[in-house]
Structure formats: structure tokens, C-alpha cells
């Protein structure tokens, strides 16, 4: 599947009505092009969401643009890219629009998504941004904001747009001060005036690991070992600790543990279990801080492991007395596109994430 920009309109001074007109013109041009080429089916416009992407700089915008474009074939929507540079002597707010269509394989439908890029230079232009974004949100479909990098809480753009959002997607992996960032997330979740659901790309990064761990205990004969877990060893590549912490918060909250003490590289629970964090040197293309595995040890020595097995696969092992089982499954592609897609697919709250963050915020 490849993607092409079906239409790109010239830069405009921001005017929501003009932007909508430009987009309509692009759709019409694309539909006419299909007719000219004798394609049998008309182009249909299906947009599932509005996604505001707040980026810090041009490199961030380019990356976000790639991610949004890659998501289009399965989750087409209107992406509003916002690049704000307050420290700029100019006062300039500009927009440009494009229609991005997937070139379909034989027998597949053509899918198009809309992209509106807003560039604000200077403090006055940045202040006008919320007023430019709000009228561009699609009616009656969910509105997401992806704060691409760093901690968003306290930023005026978020404050102004938050009432219009269904979900704020942060990336705790990019937080410079992880513990402080987690406490801020917890405060936002607990704040009754902050209506948007807060979710985290790090939670999506952990999804396969949580899934594979849960799967071990789906088997009724194995499930009683959950109540007998005494040691948890979480291993990750050296780097930001947030994935290991979130995994610990998840496991502890699901098992009803209370984290009472942070002791060097471990957490101790009121129930007497120990969670240890280990780091290993980063190798290959895997990024620092990424999860490499977990080992759970129960009373009596039964052990359960989920570990990376080379690039792209995991192995799950369990040893209970004489019974030793092992299975290999592919690890879902580790990419921003996958993780963002995971978050855009959810509409309701994520109580398990909230519980994990709540527990961590008190322990860190």
C-alpha cells in the first residue's frame, strides 16, 4: 500500500471557511479524476475522527505527518497538525490543506484522509490557534489530541482546547521527568473539570506484554498462582524507566497490591511481594527503555516468563513442577503508527491505566 497526496492546496491565511472550501475542492477534483480514469466506484468520504497533533518543531511535524498518513488506510480521519513556535518575532498564522489517498491494491477500496496543517509563529499567533482549530473539528465524531512530545499539562493550548476533546493522548516515554509527568497525569485523571480521557502511548507500547502475561493465567489450573506471586523481575533496555514502571503499576493494581516502598531498583508491596527492575544494554534497532521481558515467581518455585526472542517475537514459558510449556508468538509491530492506532480505536475510559497511574503516583 502506498500513499499519494491527491491534492495539495496553496498556503492560506487561516480562515476556517476557506479551508473547508479548499478541502471540498480537493475531494471533487479527486472524484472527477476517478471518473476520467473510468474507475467503476465513486470515491466515498468516510472520516472516523478529528485528530489534533501538537508538535514541537518541524522534525516532529514531519514524523507526525508520516504516522497520520500511514494510519489513513485503516482509520481515516481529519488530521489537524499544529506547529506552534512562541519564541519567534513574527506574528503569522498560516494553513495549508491536503487530501491523502491510499493507492489501493487490486480489489481494495481507495481510502482518503484530510490533513490541515496550521503553523503559528510568535506569541500572538499562538494565542489565536485555539480559535482556528475549534471550527475545524468535524461534527459528531470523536476529537483526539495527540501531544507528541513532553508534558502538556499547564500549556495554554491544551487548556483552551480540552473542553472540545474526547481524549488527550500523551507519550510519557518522551517526558523528561517521568515521575513528575506521571503525577500530572494522575492529577488530570482525578480532576473533575478536565473532561477529556487521558491515555498514553506507553500504555499501547505495553499492550502486547500485558496481553501475553494475562494469557498465562487464563488457564484455570494456573490462575491460583496469581495469588502466590512473590517476585516480579521486570527487564528493560537502559533508558526511560516508564514502561517498566507502568507494567509494575498495572500488575500491582490488578492483583490488589499496595506499593509501600521504593527501594533502589525495586518496589515492595504491603502484601510482601517484591518487584525488581533490571536494565540491560540496548542492542540492535530496539530503542532505549523498551521492555525486554518479565519473570514472575510464585511460592514453591513455579515460574512464568514472557521475553523478547530476537527481533519481532516473544517467547512465553511456564514451569510448574514437571510441566514445562513454551510458545512463540510474533510481537506486534513496534511503531508509533501501531500505538497511535491502538489509542484512536478506543473511545471509552481506560480504568486499568488510571488504576496503574494512581498506584504509581503514590509510590514514585
Amino acid at each position: 500500500v502506498s500513499t499519494e497526496i491527491a491534492g495539495l492546496a496553496p498556503r492560506l491565511t487561516v480562515d476556517p471557511a476557506a479551508i473547508e472550501r479548499e478541502l471540498s475542492a480537493l475531494w471533487m477534483a479527486e472524484a472527477e479524476a476517478r471518473q476520467r480514469h473510468g474507475l467503476p466506484k465513486p470515491l466515498s468520504r468516510t472520516l472516523l475522527h478529528s485528530l489534533i497533533v501538537v508538535t514541537r518543531d518541524r522534525a516532529g511535524s514531519d514524523l507526525a505527518c508520516q504516522v497520520a498518513t500511514a494510519l489513513n488506510p485503516r482509520q481515516p480521519g481529519r488530521t489537524i497538525m499544529v506547529e506552534a513556535t512562541e519564541a519567534d518575532p513574527e506574528d503569522r498564522l498560516e494553513a495549508w490543506v491536503s487530501l491523502q489517498c491510499t493507492v489501493p491494491r487490486d480489489g481494495h477500496e481507495q481510502v482518503c484522509g484530510e490533513q490541515i496543517s496550521l503553523e503559528a509563529r510568535g506569541p500572538a499567533a499562538v494565542r489565536r490557534l485555539p480559535g482556528a482549530v475549534l471550527p475545524l473539528l468535524l461534527t459528531d465524531v470523536p476529537a483526539f489530541m495527540w501531544w507528541q512530545s513532553g508534558r502538556p499539562f499547564g500549556q495554554s493550548l491544551l487548556k483552551d482546547l480540552a473542553p472540545a476533546l474526547d481524549r488527550l493522548i500523551v507519550d510519557s516515554f518522551t517526558f523528561a521527568q517521568t515521575a513528575q509527568g506521571i503525577r500530572e497525569i494522575q492529577q488530570a485523571i482525578a480532576d473533575p473539570h478536565f473532561a477529556a480521557i487521558v491515555s498514553d502511548l506507553s500504555w499501547a507500547r505495553l499492550a502486547p506484554w500485558r496481553y501475553l502475561t494475562a494469557q498465562i493465567f487464563d488457564a484455570a489450573p494456573v490462575r491460583p498462582y496469581l495469588a502466590r506471586l512473590r517476585e516480579v523481575e521486570i527487564q528493560s533496555y537502559a533508558g526511560p524507566p516508564v514502561l517498566a514502571w507502568l507494567y509494575a503499576g498495572w500488575l500491582a493494581s490488578r492483583l490488589g497490591w499496595t506499593l509501600v516502598q521504593r527501594d533502589g531498583d525495586s518496589l515492595v508491596t504491603q502484601q510482601g511481594s517484591v518487584i525488581r527492575f533490571e536494565t540491560v544494554p540496548s542492542v540492535g534497532e530496539v530503542l532505549p527503555g523498551y521492555f525486554t521481558g518479565v519473570r514472575l515467581v510464585a511460592d514453591g518455585g513455579a515460574t512464568f516468563e514472557v521475553c523478547r526472542l530476537g527481533p519481532g517475537h516473544t517467547v512465553t514459558r511456564q514451569d510448574i513442577g514437571e510441566l514445562h510449556t513454551e510458545r512463540v508468538v510474533p510481537l506486534r509491530q513496534e511503531s508509533l503508527t501501531e500505538w497511535l492506532g491502538h489509542e484512536l480505536a478506543r473511545l471509552g475510559p481506560v480504568p486499568t491505566y488510571d488504576a496503574a497511574v494512581r498506584l504509581l503516583a503514590t509510590a514514585l
Binding site: 500485558r210 494475562a214 490488589g256 517467547v315
Partner: protein
């Protein structure tokens, strides 16, 4: 207090909220095409998606004695040729293949079932399959009764560890009402009904399941889904292919057994049923059975008033020459088996009284297409007269099942201009343009459901008998007409002329697909 005995607390909040218990799948007919093309690729894909339990094993059961290694090699070839994820990933296959085993034996040999039982007990120890069993009957239908009886005789109808035992039975489930009842009796002498999963792979298709979501998760359709607003319903299952090497089977079945009795009546039930009280297996199937029981009986003597049959002659499909049905391999030269059928039926219910349902299905039609079209009644009075020389078209809602899954609604719109000209336009929703994620194969969904004990997408005993009760009358009627010449249609056309005359006599016409 952590309640680890009843539910897995780690499962909460995950996208997949239920996972099967550890189990062993036993496939009878392991050397057959279905196993290689569909079943083992489906299991492999479930493993790739991480949807199988850790404790898992597969046992192939067939007559030919071959070692495990050869069975595994055959299955690998099947995955590499037919799986939607191919070729097999070496890392995954290496671990998965160790879970594949083979048990040779004749279907009627009690000793073979004792060996099977011993092997399954060993797998419980070695693979942690916990005594849960799924028996999949993928053999020719004549072996179903003997396999069922032998499973019972060997005590394999109950789990040794207090777990579950489920049995999937492939189609066809009987050749007529009498044989279906006999098979039900045999099956129920060994298994409880809640252990039995009669498979119709059509129900595993994503878009078929979506019929229920479309109808019962949207509030705007139900109020007009009845005799007050609907003029008629057309259900079409058109195939461009011929008998594809299955001439021997098809010649004894015809379109009535191959398509109508199972797939098309299932589509009928989904589109015509009342809302179930819950989305669980028995509540859904209760409503489906009501539809089948509400089909107005067609007396055998009246069959030709309600049904048009046809058989394809030589022609061309998709620009390629196609032989006539009687020239196909395995088909008797003087065969009177129908390859096309058009049928009108009525439902004796308050919701549908007076609304005809037209069903048509055939082989060697111009293209492959499956859809349900609900045509609404004409507006009572046109304010705009006849425009562009034609009357205003009634609204039409089409549920496309394959190949272009989607939903379209036809409504009327004004052509731009200074005079009023009305033209019908389609508002199309295509799954492909909204959810570009590939849907799982029907067999993947159905096997997983069976492991989970979810029976809503499988056919219940009374459902299959109710379908045969209706079809039996048609078969009886045809027995009287056997001597009559079947109308023929040229391969690559939309059936015999009589099928068009049949619906046009009601003042309607088949949709042009």
C-alpha cells in the same frame, strides 16, 4: 480479596476480554482438503494473533498411517499455500509444529479411539491441555454417525479432568429432514446439545455478523423493518464458478442443498428475525428458529408456482468459455440437478405478513455477488410527476456481503438546475474505506468461538430441522417433476428466462448486479 479462581484479573481492560481454556483440537479427516486449506491455517493464524491458549495441541486423525513429521510437513505446505498470513514464520512454526500430532486409525475401529484417548491424556501432561477437547468432524458426511458413536463408546464425550468437550460437525447436516433427524438423534445419544456446534461457515463472515449489529445497534432501521414500509426483500448468492471439481458431490446436492438449505436460509433468518432478548447463543437462535418456522409451507404440488430451477449450458463467464453443467467432470450426462434456483417465500408473522422474500442462487452467473436488498414501498403520491421519463424509484437498502462488503442506501435527489428533475443516488458505506483492517477468516472466528463455548454462530438442532422441513417440501414436489426438462441458462447469464418471468409476474424485477 483477589478472586483468582473465577476470573483472571489481568484480563480486565484488554482488547480481547476472553481467552479459551487450554485444549486439544482433534481433526477427523486430517488428510482431507479442508484440514490443509482451511482448518490448520486457521489455527496457525489464531496462534499468530496470540488468540490460542498456552496449553494447546492439535491431533490429526485419518486412516493413512504417517508419522507426526510427515503430517507436520503437509500442514506447513497447506499454510504456505493457503493461509492469509503466508509463508509461515519460521520462529512461530517451529514452536507451533511441536504441538501437531497424528493418530492413524479407521473411523469405525474402537482400538483407534483408545489410542486417541491415550494420546490425548499424554498431551494433557506434556502440553498442559487440561482435559479440554474439541473434536472437529471434517470428513465426508457418511462418517459422522460412526465417529460420534465411537467417541461415545471410548468415553471421549466427557473430559477426564472435568473440563469441556465440544464437537464441530461440518455441513451438510443431513440430505433431507429424515436424515438430519437421524443424525441429530445419533449425535444427541452421545453429546448434550450444548456440546454440539453445527458449522455453517457463512455465519463466520464478518459482514454476515454485521447484519445483527446494523439492525440492532442502530435505532433508525427497526421502526421501518416490517410490512408497513418494506415492499419486498431480495437475497442473492451468485457464483461465477462452476462445480470446480466437485461434480460428483454437487450432482447429488444441487443448489438447494449446497446453498439454500444452509447459507441462504441463514441470511433470511438474520434479516427477518425479531430482536433477541440478549446477544447470547440461545436467545439469538430462538429468534432465528421462529423465522424458519414462520415460513409459509409450500405444498409439494404447488412447488412450480414458487420456485424456478435452471441448469447452466455452455457459455462464457468473464470472457472465458465455460462448459455446460452436464459436461462437467463427475456429473451424470443426463443430470437433472439444478444449478440455479429462484424462490419466493412468505413469512407468516405480524412483522412480515404479505412481504415476499425472493431468493436466488446459482452457479456460472455473470459475477460473484452476495447481497440482501430491502426494497421499501413506493411513496404514496408523487409531487414531482414523471421526471426524465421515469417514475420515482423506491428507496432501497442493500447489505453487500461479498465481494464488496458494505451497505448502501438509495434515495432520490434533485438534479441541479432550474427545473425539478429527480434522480436516484446511492449513499455508500464500504468497510474497506472505513476499516482497512483485514477481517479474520470465517473458520478462525468459528473455531475460536467453539473453544470459548460461544454457540451463537452455530446452528442448533431445531434450527437445522426447521430449515429441512421447509426444503423437504420442495424436494418432494420436485420428485414429481423429475421427468420434466429443466430450463437451461447459458453460462454467464443471470439464470433462465423463466426466473425473470417469475418475478415480473409479481410486478417486480431482479436487481441488476
Amino acid at each position: 480479596m483477589l478472586d483468582t479462581l473465577t476470573a483472571n484479573p489481568l484480563r480486565e481492560g484488554l482488547q480481547v476480554e476472553r481467552m479459551p481454556e487450554p485444549n486439544a483440537v482433534v481433526i477427523f479427516g486430517a488428510s482431507g482438503d479442508l484440514t490443509k486449506r482451511k482448518l490448520v491455517p486457521a489455527l496457525y493464524n489464531l496462534e499468530l494473533e496470540g488468540l490460542l491458549p498456552n496449553g494447546f495441541a492439535v491431533v490429526g486423525f485419518a486412516r493413512r498411517p504417517i508419522p507426526d513429521a510427515e503430517f507436520r510437513q503437509q500442514m506447513l505446505e497447506g499454510i504456505n499455500a493457503f493461509s492469509r498470513n503466508r509463508p509461515a514464520q519460521p520462529e512461530v512454526w517451529e514452536a507451533f509444529s511441536q504441538k501437531l500430532h497424528y493418530c492413524p486409525g479407521n473411523f469405525d475401529d474402537p482400538a483407534a479411539y483408545q489410542q486417541l484417548a491415550a494420546l490425548l491424556n499424554t498431551l494433557d501432561e506434556e502440553h498442559g491441555t487440561a482435559g479440554n477437547r474439541l473434536f472437529y468432524l471434517a470428513t465426508a458426511p457418511e462418517y459422522f454417525p460412526v465417529i460420534i458413536q465411537q467417541l461415545g463408546a471410548a468415553g471421549l464425550n466427557e473430559s477426564p479432568a472435568g473440563g469441556w468437550v465440544h464437537v464441530i460437525i461440518e455441513k451438510p447436516f443431513g440430505r433431507d429432514l429424515s436424515t438430519a433427524r437421524d443424525l441429530n438423534r445419533t449425535v444427541q445419544s452421545v453429546f448434550r446439545e450444548d456440546q454440539v456446534y453445527r458449522i455453517d461457515h457463512y455465519l463466520g463472515k464478518e459482514t454476515v455478523q454485521n447484519i445483527l449489529v446494523f439492525r440492532f445497534a442502530n435505532g433508525i432501521f427497526e421502526p421501518v423493518w416490517n410490512r408497513n414500509y418494506v415492499d419486498h426483500v431480495q437475497i442473492t448468492v451468485a457464483e461465477a464458478v462452476g462445480v470446480e471439481g466437485r461434480g460428483g458431490y454437487y450432482d447429488t446436492a444441487g443448489v438447494i442443498r449446497d446453498m439454500i438449505q444452509n447459507h441462504m436460509l441463514q441470511l433470511l433468518t438474520l434479516v427477518a428475525m425479531d430482536p433477541p432478548v440478549a446477544f447470547d447463543a440461545n436467545a439469538v437462535r430462538d429468534e432465528k428458529v421462529k423465522v424458519l418456522r414462520a415460513i409459509h409451507p409450500i405444498a409439494p404440488a404447488d412447488v412450480d408456482q414458487f420456485v424456478v430451477r435452471g441448469q447452466y449450458s455452455a457459455g462464457s463467464v468473464g470472457g472465458k468459455p465455460a462448459p455446460g453443467y452436464r459436461e462437467e467432470r463427475g456429473v451424470a450426462p443426463g443430470s437433472v440437478t439444478e444449478t440455479f434456483l429462484a424462490l419466493r417465500l412468505h413469512l407468516d408473522s405480524w412483522r412480515w405478513a404479505g412481504v415476499p422474500f425472493y431468493l436466488r442462487s446459482g452457479k456460472r452467473l455473470p459475477k460473484r455477488s452476495t447481497e440482501i436488498a430491502i426494497q421499501f414501498k413506493q411513496i404514496p403520491l408523487s409531487l414531482f410527476g414523471r421526471t426524465s421519463g421515469s417514475a420515482i424509484e423506491p428507496n432501497l437498502l442493500v447489505l453487500n456481503i461479498q465481494p464488496d462488503e458494505g451497505i448502501s442506501l438509495r434515495f432520490n435527489s434533485k438534479l441541479p438546475g432550474s427545473i425539478v428533475q429527480v434522480r436516484p443516488v446511492n449513499m455508500d458505506f464500504r468497510y474497506g474505506t472505513s476499516f482497512g483492517v483485514p477481517a479474520p477468516e470465517a473458520y478462525e472466528r468459528l473455531i475460536l468461538d467453539c473453544m470459548l463455548g460461544e454457540a451463537a454462530l452455530f446452528t442448533r438442532d431445531d434450527e437445522v430441522e426447521a430449515a429441512w422441513t421447509f426444503v423437504n417440501r420442495l424436494l418432494e414436489g420436485w420428485e414429481r417433476l423429475r421427468a420434466a426438462e429443466l430450463p437451461t441458462y447459458e453460462a454467464g447469464t443471470w439464470g433462465p428466462r423463466a426466473a425473470h418471468d417469475f418475478i415480473e409476474a409479481d410486478g417486480r424485477r431482479w436487481r441488476r448486479l
